[in-house]
Amino acid sequence: MHTIDIKNISKRFGTNQAVKDISFEVNPGEIFGLLGPNGAGKTTCLRMVLDIFKPDTGSITLFGGSLDEGKKDKIGYMPEDRGLYQDIPLERCLTYLSSLKGMSKTEIKEQLDINLEKFGLADHRKKKVKELSKGMQQKAQIIATLQHKPELIIIDEPFTALDPINTQLIKDILVTLKEEGTTIIMCTHQMHQVEELCDRILLMNEGEKVLYGKLNEIRKQYSGSDVIIESPNEVPQIPGISNIEKVNGTVRVGLENSLSPQDLLQNLIVNNIQIEKFQIAVPSLSEIFIQAVTKDGIDE
C-alpha cells in the first residue's frame, strides 16, 4: 500500500490553474522530493494532500483512505509559511502543538528536552518565539513537526534561513528518520539541496508534471555520453571523441556513439595517460530541469 496515492488532481484559483492533472504515489519509508521553481504548484499539491484545499478534480488517498482526524496525528507538517505563536515562550508553544498531536505530558517533556538539545535551542526555551532569530524559528518549526514521531513528514522548503551547518543537521536527521521507516515528502525549489536525499522525485513546472520517477533513473535518462577526466597529461584526440573542453582544471570529453566510456578509459591507460579522476558526467537536477522544460512536451 502506498502511503499517499494521488490520481489526476487539479486545482484552479480564479483564472490561475495552479495544478493540472497531477498523479503520483509516495511509498512507505522513502524520501520523496516535490520539486520545481517558485509558483510551480508544489505547495498547492501538498495542501490538497493535507485536505487544506479541496482538489477541483481527482482523488487523494492517505494511508489507504481519506484524511480523517485520527490520521492527522500520524502526520508532521511544516508549512512554507512558518507558523508559530510569536508572543509566547518557545517551550510553551512547542508543548501546546505537541499536545494537540496526542502526546502525553511525560512524552512531550522527554521528547522536547531531546529535540531542543539536538537543535541547539535548549538555552532559548524560555524566550518568546518572536525573540528568536529566523534560523532558530526555522529549527523550532522543525521540532514542532518531528516532536510526535509522525509516520509521514511533509516539509515545505525545509532549508530556508538555515546556515550550512544547520542545513546539514536537518539533512542528517531526515536521513536517520528515513532509516527508521518514516515516509518523508520534501518540497523545495532549491533542487541542489535535495538531490542527495531523495529516492524519487516529482518535478513540476507551471502546475504540470515535468519529470517523475526514481532520481537515479532520471539522471541516467538525462546523462549524455560525456565523461569528466582529471589528469596532469593532455587527453589525446582518439577516434570517437567529438570534443574536448577544459573546465576548472578538469577536462570534459564528448563521446560519439562509436566510443563508450569504458573503451576510452582503456585507451587512455594503454596510452600511459595518468588518470586522477574519471567520471561519467551526470547532470544536476537543475540542469535536468532546464533541459526538461525547454523540450517540447513532458517526459515521464
Binding site: 507558523g83 508559530l84 502543538l97
Partner: protein
Amino acid sequence: MKKILLVIRSEVVNIFTRPSYLILTFGLPVLGFILFLVFTNLNQKETQAISEIFKESPTTVQTEGFIDQGGIIKNVPEFLQDGSFQEFENENSAKKALEDTLISAYYLINPDIYDTGEIIYVRPDFNPLSGNGQDWKMRELFAYNLFDGDGQLSALVQYPVDFIDQPLDPSITEGQDSELAFIVPYVTTILFYIVILSSASLLLNSVVSEKQNRVIEVIMLSVSPHQLLTGKILGLGFVGLLQSLIYTSVGFTLLKISGRSVEVPPTLNFSPSILIWGIIFFVVGFLIYASLMAGLGALVPNIREASQATFVVIAPMIVPMLFISIMLEQPHGPIATFLSLFPLTAPVAMMTRLASGGVPLWHPILAVILSLLTAALILRTVTGFFRSQTLLSGQEFKISLFFKAMIGKI
C-alpha cells in the same frame, strides 16, 4: 473532547499571561480601589449614600447683570436673592463690570420685550458645549415678574404638571432616589454592551492573529474546525466572564469596605436573581457574538480589516443603545419587549428591562431559548466556513463576503 480542553487551556493561559490583560483585569480594579480609598478619606466625615453621588452638587453662584429697558423686573424672588443678579442703569456700566470681571454676564432687556420676547445675553466665554450658563435664572426672574411676584402661578405656568407614577401593587412605592431608577438600567445596558463586545473581540483577535502568524495551518492539521472553534469560544468566554465577575466583585467589595451602601429604590428589581440572569445573558450574548466574531476572523486577512469590519457584526448590539431612552421610559412597551426577545439584541436589551423591574418570567426564559437556538445556528454556520481553505485564502474582505458566508454561499 481532549483536544477541545487543550485549546481551552491554551487560550486561557495565553490570555492570563498577557500583561495587557492582567493590567486591565487586575490593575484597573486596584487603581479603582486606590482612588476610592483616597476619595473616601477625603470625604471621611461625610457618610452619604451612594445615590447622593449622582445628585446635583452645589454650584458656585455667579453674579450676572441686567439692564431692564422694558421696565419688567420689579421684584426678585427669595431664592434668587443670593447675589445671582445685579441691575445696571445702562449697558456701558454693565459692560465695564463684565470687563472688570465683577459679573460673569449680563442681559439686555429691550423696551420692545413684549413684542419680540427677546433678551440679549452677553457673555465673554461663549461655548456651545457649556450650555446656556445661568439663563434659567433669568427665565425664573422674568416669569416671576410677569405674574407680579406670584411665585406659585409663575411656577405652574413654567412647569404645569408633575406626573407621579403609582404602581398597581400598593406594596411598591417609588423611592426618593429616582436617579437610580434611570442609572441602574442605563449602566447595566452599557456594561453588558462593553463586556460582551470585549469578550467577543478576544475571539476575533485570537483567530486573526493565528491567521497572521500562519500557525493556523499547523493547528488545522491537528484539530477539527469544530474542536478549535468550540475550544476558543469556551476558553475566551471563561476569560471574559471571569473579568466581568472580578469587576463586579471588586465594585461591591469597594462599596462594602468603604462603609457605603447601595441605596436602591424599591421599584428596581435589583435582586440576586438579576445577577443570575446577568450571567445567563452574558453567556448567550457571548456565544452569539463570539461565533460571529470568529466567522469574521476567518474571513478577514488581517487585524486592520477586522477592526473595520467589526461594526457589521456588532451593529445589532448597538440597537438597544439607540433606543435606550424609549426602553427606560417604557421598559415593557412594544419596542423594549421586541428588542429584549430578538436574539441579536436580547442579551443587552433584556438586561435593561430586568434592571428596570417588572418583567414577566416567561420573557427572559423565551429570550434565552431563542438566543441559544440562534447561537447554535450561527456556530454551525461559522464552523462550516471555518476551514483551512477560507482561513488561508487571504482574499480581500468585503461585507458581502460575510453575509454570503453566513448563508452558506462560499
